[in-house]
Symmetry: C2
Subunit: 564 residues, 2 copies
């Protein structure tokens, strides 16, 4: 085999570097390196690479200093690759650790991972069939058909699909993009002329309607990026259960000015904050009545499609949506990226095709003709195809149901601890709560609404500070990873009727390897830290409420420092 | 360890399936399966899995029948995963095979692959720092800084980067998306009001200018998707060297109607068809004069950034671009996806941020604040970071230079075969040609322009048919994979002055493992098949040209069947 030696190097007789070793041939040494990469990854999995914590915490600046170096000039021995990876693994966070309760992105499906890394090696290009991805193209089409079947759309046997135009969905890189394409399809469906002439030709503003407090930010960004404009996203009130208020939605639709033309409603099937699910049938009814596109964001709720009973309970009506986003890298234990957008009307994507007539040609199977935003792209769909092929819908469904039992078990533990107030009821896997021990909560229930605005704000601040402190302490110690974010108390659970957001603590039971025992161990750490906070919290709490004398007296009535 | 057993299963005493084995713990059996996945991939690499051909060809319908089955219901043993992957590998195409000359997407960098699969295992989520991707966030920022340095933008040491707003680029999933975001940045930079109000508020049409014959289709799609409208992409004539005609471009700019407001010019640094490169300085001059955004699509040419001499020769002026797209999964041997968009002005992406003020907060490092279209996403940037870290800019540069020598060697072989007419000169790695043996070409040079339109079309059709036949024969036999697509003969190399596109054969020397010997072996197979075609081609050629009697006689003059 001829060596790869650059002309420059050919002139220098010594130290000729053979670059072949940097490219997979594969030699035995190369095979060994790749297997060692897997072994190293397994040390990340078993925890030994990261001191058996979900994370060896360091602040951002540590890495900015540690990694600082200008662009490397000279080649190093390829064997040293492992050392670099080891350092990266050491400081990476483990989303599949049993003490990681923040996001549901566990990514630890074995058949999913096998598909995912095999796809990297074979590096098929799903833009085209012949030169790029022969069998992979058909596997992706099959997977889309399976997802259609799960949603309840019309589904076909693979042999009955005759042209690309029948492929009613696509593989995307995230829920953000799935929602963007859903909105883009809705817009172009209602106003097909904008493809050629653009939006500047319209003498009205297309608008969409959704509940801002619970919808994903991708919809606002899409409104900006699609040229609709963020002010044309119309907010719909949220119910006290973190769902879209469809009664208010109807009122808004009835009172829109003439220069605002609605084209889409977003239904949320598992919002990012609390995983609460809209009543999809009610929203579908409204869409039908007003002739609007119905998009369902099931990025969180999508995993429930695999369980007959949970689908019926939580996703009833999803099959009436014009488009559905799902995100298996979130609720379905697959590594990133694994996301899909599906369309009720099979040929929806052909409106974006540069050659629409070719999508009806029986001999043309170039997926790039119906995948806006994507030309050359890898075989990311293999991981979900493998997951479904190996675990079956039954296996996945049972794991999803099991996980939901663990989630509700966690809810009971948190309830029973008497340390927190939950802002939402656990539906299938996500719950947000704040630090506010029972007696303080009891006090707020009785007198919270009577506090003045300043006191309400001070209590909110108090709750936020202490919750945040407990949360971050556990996080930085690498003991338990809980989520933290801001959330409106739409159910007024703290009886403060406040317009501010709370900084909540949250858990998500996404990892199928959680057990009741592991959940108890993790939450006990939380409870222990939280309990330590009570005396200081109490002092501050009393200081705030005693400003309003009569109530402070009542506070003493219900217990007082010593009795708590 | 408690078993994952669903409640439904708990009621059936027998066949309780323990789903733990489907999730990476990892057990020894699981480690073994993952290593076997690597071994199987290595059989794809060494060719044994695919009968030592770049592809075991089957037509699309074969797979539609072979794969046909409804969605799998029951779980199977996880060990059977390998069998599924084996079947997929068997019928996949190898883009790194030495006989694969179609696209440059070889994806065979060893450190790149190690980074790529390690990233899958550790599954960091580059949307956020704390809960999702601590060290990975900083590595991605460092990589973006390195790419800035290569382009010639201002670059900083990592420790001097103080806030997110200074991160002047982002990791994307493909060149298509990179170009889309480049155009979106240009649009919002010129018309910032559209973020809130949308495009329907404008009383003019924003337009972009580019050379349609050589630009990537992503720009038209972006014009549609961004709400600009496809009719607002203004075509600029192409030179005979497949580059943008900047003299004509200036004329167009000077004559645009008032309701068409230009905001961007696209410079192509390596077009998809012939990898020809625009004179970037000339285009940058025009952009400066007319105050337009200059976007450079360097998806193909980007690899040249690593070679000082090639950068100087081919990419001079790239540092003057406002935005640059690069696509390392194309020219830089990395598996999909690996693409980037870089901006001269560091804080360009903050205009798309949902919380622009937070991008200037020294404690906030959530990349999702400056990555439009992407929320949760994996650590895809690790592969390029590893490639650069291990090979160094010098190593990569030398490989890129070596590859270009092989490309020019291939050009000479094709030239010397006397069987083909090349439509472009090889610049650094891509060349398109048609089947038209020398004597026929000589004839066309002398008389081609004198043929009537019908004859010209018939000759074009003849050339297309025979070229296609040779190409597809080699492809289906799994012997040599050449590219095929349609292309205008802008240099009028066939002297037919025809407006139709030709169906060309093309080669791309993207794989660093090609050698002169391997290239010769592959091209000899092409030459052998092409030679077999000459007698039949000749008969048809004469039939066409003899319709115009006087020329047919001259054809006989210059050789005639026996003498050829």
């Amino acid at each position: 085999m001829t060596k790869i030696i650059s002309p420059a190097r050919q002139n220098t007789e010594k130290n000729q570097m053979d670059y072949r070793e940097y490219f997979i041939v594969p030699t035995n040494k190369q095979k060994e390196l790749l297997k060692k990469t897997v072994e190293l990854a397994m040390k990340f999995y078993d925890g030994s690479l990261r001191d058996n914590k979900f994370l060896i915490y360091k602040p951002p600046k540590y890495f900015f200093k540690k990694l600082d170096r200008t662009i490397p000039k000279n080649p190093i021995d390829v064997g040293k690759s492992l050392k670099l990876l080891k350092e990266i693994g050491k400081y990476s966070i483990s989303q599949f650790d049993k003490t990681y309760l923040s996001f549901p992105d566990s990514g630890n499906s074995l058949p999913g991972m096998m598909g995912s890394i095999f796809a990297k090696f074979i590096n098929q290009n799903l833009s085209a069939f012949d030169r790029s991805a022969p069998i992979a193209t058909v596997i992706e089409i099959q997977l889309i058909e399976w997802l259609r079947e799960l949603i309840g759309y019309t589904s076909k046997e693979l042999k009955d699909i005759e042209t690309l135009s029948e492929v009613g969905g696509m593989c995307v890189t995230g829920g953000h993009m799935a929602n963007h394409i859903g909105m883009m399809a809705a817009l172009n469906n209602k106003f097909p002329e904008i493809g050629e002439k653009g939006l500047s030709n319209l003498n009205f503003s297309p608008v969409i309607l959704l509940s801002k407090k619970i919808s994903h930010y991708s919809f606002y960004e899409a409104a900006h990026h699609l040229g609709i404009g963020k002010e044309n996203v119309i907010d719909v009130p949220t119910t006290s259960h973190f769902t879209t208020d469809y009664i208010e939605l109807k009122k808004i639709l009835d009172s829109l000015p003439k220069n605002k033309v609605p084209f889409m409603i977003v239904g949320v099937a598992g919002n990012t904050k609390t995983s609460s699910l809209d009543d999809l049938n009610k929203l579908a009814d409204l869409c039908k009545k007003y002739n609007l596109w119905f998009h369902v964001d099931a990025c969180h709720g999508g995993s429930l499609l695999f369980s007959g009973q949970m689908k019926k309970k939580f996703l009833n009506g999803i099959e009436r949506a014009d488009s559905v986003s799902i995100d298996p890298h979130k609720g379905l234990f697959l590594p990133y990226p694994s996301s899909y957008i599906l369309f009720k009307k099979r040929d929806t994507l052909t409106i974006f095709s540069k050659h629409p007539e070719e999508t009806k040609d029986k001999n043309i199977w170039e997926l790039c003709l119906i995948t806006p935003f994507y030309g050359s792209r890898g075989f990311e769909s293999l991981s979900l195809w493998m997951l479904i092929s190996v675990m079956g819908t039954k296996g996945i469904g049972e794991v999803v149901e099991y996980r939901s039992i663990i989630a509700r078990y966690a809810e009971r533990l948190i309830d029973n601890s008497g340390l927190f107030v939950k802002l939402n009821d656990m539906d299938f896997y996500r719950m947000a709560f704040v630090f506010c021990p029972e007696k303080f909560h009891n006090y707020l229930i009785k007198y919270g609404s009577k506090l003045d605005q300043k006191q309400k704000e001070s209590i909110t601040d108090l709750i936020n500070r202490y919750g945040c402190e407990v949360n971050q302490k556990l996080y930085r110690a690498g003991e338990v990873c809980l989520d933290k974010y801001s959330l409106y108390d739409v159910g007024n659970k703290l009886n403060l009727n406040i317009e501010e957001k709370f900084l909540v603590i949250a858990i998500t039971a996404g990892n199928p390897l959680y057990t009741k025992a592991s959940m108890k161990t993790s939450l006990n750490k939380l409870f222990k830290e939280a309990e330590k906070m009570i005396p200081k919290f109490e002092k501050e709490f009393i200081l705030i409420v005693k400003e309003k004398h009569s109530i402070a007296e009542k506070l003493c009535d219900i217990g007082g420092p010593a009795g708590w």
